[in-house]
Amino acid sequence: MEYILIIISAIFVNNIVLTKFLGVCPFMGVSNKVETSIGMTGAVAFVLVIATIVTYLVQKYILVALGIEFMQTITFILIIASLVQLVEIILKKVSPPLYQALGIFLPLITTNCAVLGVAILTVQKDFNLLEGAIFAFSNAIGFGLALIIFAGLREHLDLMNVPKGMKGVPIAFIVAGLLAMAFMGFSGIVK
């Protein structure tokens, strides 16, 4: 039951992009086509889960054990940056088709604040390892859900007759605002 609450809360109620504002840059940047946003979602889900597990273990067995929690920010960002590199190298070797699909998105993920944000949130919320992994995965799904819906809307938006000054970025932000409003309907389901 607890796990279901974590999943619903992370995907709908506290959606990572639309409610917590993490990962807005890729949300705006790669949402021009549904296809690319699916690729981005895959890459984020992959890195997010691995990064959360690794940072959790490092936090618990190195930082807390040695009493140097203030090194958290530096440690986490270095872990994430090197992890992204590592994932890229391994994927290239092990599964070329997957690398073809996710390759171009991987370098972008280092500066995706969703990854660092979820890693820090997992520590702050005192999750255990399994809860942390589920939390990370459901956040990735929430990110993907928002991104793919938004990409679908934007594809239609290109065909619409938008006032000249609002074309492009401004109307995209307003559509995102309306989408966030729709997601507000879920608030209150889980605390």
């Binding site: 990962g23 270095l78 995706n112 000054g165 109307i171 307003i174 507000m184």
Partner: protein, 193 residues
């Protein structure tokens, strides 16, 4: 480029938020009021100036291949500094901004300026560039926070100008997207005129 234009380009012509669309997460996430936006902007400015100075000091010592990781370590150091200082001296603000303080590390503006400007220019110019870009970012966040506070809570910088609550939706998450969308449209209009 003259000293003045290095400093002033961050405010309008190359404003990080309104023109380049960088650093959107803290822009949307922390601007529930003008004060919060200003605080976030100033914290980012501090990190930006300091990391620009250090990057331009060590630019000839760092091999090209490990450039980016080295920049990230430098930035993360200053972010940790800000984090500890804010926790000690302004704990209330630290609570409100919360997660977004450590997330200054992944703000693309900072790494972007280190790579695009500080790694090629002198220390003085880099500091000036960081200051201009940072204050431009702070200005954008304060405007966005101010508009949201005026509409959403009926106050500005915490001073109430009307009774009651205002339109709550502007303080909640949809308001951030809506206000930023209209502000960018407005700025685009100004640029053409």
């Amino acid at each position: 480029m003259s000293k003045l234009s290095i400093f002033s380009k961050g405010f309008f012509k190359e404003n990080a938020v309104f023109t380049l669309l960088l650093g959107l997460c803290p822009t949307l996430g922390t601007t529930t009021s003008a004060i919060n936006g200003l605080a976030m902007g100033l914290a980012t400015t501090f990190v930006l100036v300091m990391s620009n100075i250090v990057v331009s000091l060590v630019k000839n010592l760092i091999p090209d291949k490990v450039r980016i990781p080295s920049f990230i370590v430098i930035i993360a150091t200053f972010v940790t500094l800000v984090e500890l200082l804010m926790q000690a001296f302004v704990p209330d603000l630290f609570e409100v901004l919360g997660l977004f303080i450590p997330l200054i590390v992944v703000n693309c503006i900072i790494l972007g300026r280190a790579e695009a400007f500080a790694s090629k220019n002198t220390v003085g110019d880099s500091a000036l560039d960081g200051l201009g870009m940072g204050l431009g970012f702070a200005m954008a966040l304060t405007i966005l926070g101010g508009v949201r506070e005026i509409l959403g809570s009926g106050s500005l910088f915490g001073i109430h100008y009307m009774q009651g609550d205002g339109m709550l939706v502007f303080v909640l998450s949809p308001g951030a997207f809506l206000v930023l969308g209209y502000l960018i449209a407005f700025i685009n209009r100004l640029k053409k005129a």
